[in-house]
C-alpha cells in the first residue's frame, strides 16, 4: 500500500493558485443601481455592462448605433466594422461583452442592457417596436441584407429568377406577416405578384444558395416551397452557422449565390480579399433592425 505523493496535491495547488489570480475580463458589476426601469441610454448606470453580438457583421454595427447615441466615440481612422478595440472615448466606462448573437436575449437579465437583432428579439418574446430603448431605423437602413452572386453567375437566369422572386409582393407580405413588430423589415418595393414572374423554360441544375438560418433561410424556404416551382426554379438551400464560409464557398464556386449579408459586410470582405473576387450584390431583401434592450424593459 502506498500513500499519495506530494506531487499530486502540489499540482492541484498550482492549478488552484493560477485560477485564484482572479477572473480575466469577467464582467464586474461596476454600476450603481438605477432607480426604476431604464427607458433610455442616459439612464444606464456608469460602468454599465452591455452585451453585443460577437460576429463582425453586427458588432461594428452595434457600436456604431451606440456611438450614434453619444455613449462612446469610435476611432475615426478605422475603416469597415469596428470592434471593441476601436473605441476612442468611453467617458462612462461602459463595458462591452461580445456574445454569440443568439445568446444575447437569453442572457439579457445578466446585463444592464444588450444589443439584440430583430429576428432574435422576436423569438425571445421581445417586441422591438415597444421594448427597445434604442432601435435602428427600418427605412433607408444601410444594413439591408440581400442576394449576392459571383460575377459570371450574376447573369445566370436562375440567379436572376431568384432575385425577381425575392422582390415580389408575396415575399414582402411573408416578411411583414412572419416578423411582426418591426423585428425584420422588408427593404424593397414589391415589383408585383409572383405570378407575373416569367417562368424559366429549363430549370437546369438546382441553384445552390448559402444562407444564415434565420431569417434568411426561412425567407428562402418560403420562396422554395411556395413560389419556386411555378417560376421554374429549383433551389438547394444550404444553411451556414458561420459568417465567413458562405462567401468563401461562393468564391470557390461551391455555391451559386448567397443570402446572409449586408452591403457593408460584403464591401469589407471584398476589401480584405485584395484584388480578389468579383462579387455582385444583386438585390435588397430585408433589414433586421438592431435594438438595445434591457431586462424586463
Amino acid at each position: 500500500m502506498r500513500t499519495y505523493p506530494g506531487a499530486v496535491t502540489g499540482g492541484i495547488a498550482v492549478l488552484a493558485l493560477l485560477a485564484a489570480c482572479g477572473a480575466p475580463g469577467d464582467p464586474v458589476d461596476g454600476g450603481g443601481e438605477s432607480a426604476g426601469p431604464v427607458t433610455s441610454v442616459d439612464e444606464l448606470p456608469d460602468g454599465a455592462q452591455i452585451g453585443v453580438p460577437n460576429d463582425p457583421a453586427n458588432l461594428g454595427r452595434s457600436l456604431q448605433l451606440l456611438a450614434g447615441e453619444g455613449l462612446i466615440t469610435l476611432d475615426p481612422e478605422v475603416e469597415g466594422s469596428v470592434t471593441e478595440q476601436d473605441i476612442a472615448e468611453n467617458p462612462r466606462g461602459i463595458q462591452f461583452v461580445p456574445l454569440e448573437a443568439a445568446q444575447l436575449p437569453r442572457s439579457l437579465q445578466d446585463f444592464d442592457a444588450a444589443i439584440v437583432n430583430g429576428n432574435y428579439a422576436i423569438e425571445a418574446g421581445l417586441n422591438p417596436a415597444e421594448d427597445a430603448i434604442v432601435l435602428e431605423s427600418g427605412e433607408d437602413n444601410p444594413y439591408a441584407n440581400g442576394l449576392v452572386a459571383q460575377g459570371e453567375n450574376a447573369d445566370d437566369p436562375r440567379v436572376e429568377q431568384l432575385g425577381a422572386l425575392l422582390n415580389t409582393q408575396e415575399v414582402h407580405d411573408f416578411i411583414a406577416e412572419t416578423y411582426t413588430n418591426g423585428s425584420v423589415v422588408p427593404a424593397f418595393t414589391p415589383t408585383g405578384p409572383a405570378a407575373d414572374v416569367q417562368p424559366l423554360d429549363d430549370p437546369g441544375e438546382p441553384l445552390r444558395v448559402g444562407v444564415s438560418p434565420v431569417p434568411h433561410g426561412e425567407i428562402l424556404g418560403y420562396v422554395d416551397s411556395e413560389l419556386a416551382a411555378d417560376a421554374g426554379l429549383d433551389l438547394e438551400i444550404i444553411e451556414f452557422s458561420d459568417y465567413v464560409q458562405p462567401n468563401l464557398q461562393l468564391a470557390d464556386g461551391e455555391l451559386d449565390a448567397n443570402f446572409f449579408q449586408h452591403r457593408p459586410y460584403l464591401a469589407e470582405f471584398l476589401a480584405g480579399q485584395g484584388e480578389g473576387e468579383d462579387f455582385q450584390y444583386l438585390t435588397d431583401v430585408h433589414v433586421e433592425p438592431l435594438g438595445l434592450y434591457v431586462y424586463g424593459g
Partner: protein
C-alpha cells in the same frame, strides 16, 4: 511577419495576453472541479460493476446512462442548455467564470470514463491481497485502487485538460473569451492571418506544456 508583429504589438499584445490568461483561467478551474467530481463518479462506475467492490447493476446502469448523455450532447448546446444552472452557481450566464460551469459539466463524464478504464487495469490479485488483510471497501479504494491506478488517472486527467483547452475555444459564445475566441473573432472572421497564427501557436504551446507536465507526473508516479 515578425516586423508586422512588432508594429502591431501594442494592439495584439494585450489581446493575446488576455486571451491566454482567460484560457488558462477557464481550463484551470474546470480541471480542478472535473477531477473533484469526475474521480468519485469514475470510482462508482467501476465499483458498482458486477463482481467488483460494490455490485449494484441498476445504479451502474443509471450512472452509465447519465455519463453517456453528458458525453453525447454537443458542447455548444450543453452550454446553452445549462444556463439556468450556471446562473444558480455563479450568479451570471456570461463571462469566463460562467463558462467554467458548462466546461466542468462537459468534462466530468469524459474524465469519469477514463477513471473507470484506469481502475480496471489494477490487478485483481492486489485487491484480493488487501481483502485478505482485512481491508474494508473504503480502505481498498483509498489505499490500493487509487494509488495503484495513479499514473493512469494522471494520464487521463492530462487528456481531459487538453480536451478542455479545445472546448474552451467555444466559450466565446457566452462571452468567456480565451485564445479560441480571439482566433475565431479576430483571426478567422476578420481574415487577420497573423492573429490566427499567433493564437494557434500559443494554443499549441499551452497544450504542449500541459501534456509534458502530465507525462512527467505520470512517469514519476509509475516508478515504484
Amino acid at each position: 511577419m515578425l516586423t508586422e508583429l512588432a508594429e502591431r504589438w501594442d494592439e495584439l499584445g494585450p489581446l493575446l495576453f488576455d486571451g491566454t490568461y482567460a484560457t488558462l483561467y477557464m481550463v484551470g478551474w474546470s480541471t480542478l472541479f472535473t477531477a473533484l467530481f469526475g474521480l468519485p463518479l469514475g470510482v462508482l462506475l467501476y465499483a458498482t460493476e458486477r463482481g467488483r467492490l460494490l455490485p449494484a447493476p441498476w445504479l451502474r446502469a443509471v450512472l452509465g446512462a447519465i455519463v453517456n448523455i453528458g458525453r453525447s450532447v454537443p458542447f455548444i448546446v450543453l452550454m446553452v442548455a445549462v444556463l439556468t444552472f450556471t446562473r444558480f452557481i455563479t450568479g451570471t450566464t456570461i463571462g469566463p467564470t460562467a463558462a467554467i460551469v458548462p466546461l466542468t459539466l462537459g468534462a466530468i463524464p469524459f474524465y469519469a470514463r477514463l477513471v473507470e478504464t484506469s481502475l480496471r487495469e489494477v490487478g485483481r490479485d492486489v485487491i484480493e491481497a488487501a481483502e485478505a488483510m482485512g481491508a474494508g471497501r473504503g480502505t481498498i479504494v483509498a489505499k490500493v485502487l487509487l494509488p495503484e491506478a495513479l499514473p493512469g488517472l494522471i494520464a487521463g486527467l492530462t487528456v481531459t485538460v487538453v480536451a478542455l483547452v479545445s472546448y474552451s475555444a467555444m466559450a466565446g459564445a457566452i462571452g468567456g473569451g480565451g485564445l479560441g475566441d480571439v482566433a475565431i473573432r479576430f483571426g478567422y472572421q476578420r481574415f487577420d492571418e497573423l492573429v490566427l497564427l499567433l493564437c494557434v501557436v500559443l494554443l499549441v504551446v499551452v497544450v504542449q506544456l500541459l501534456q509534458s507536465l502530465g507525462d512527467l507526473a505520470a512517469r514519476r508516479l509509475s516508478h515504484r
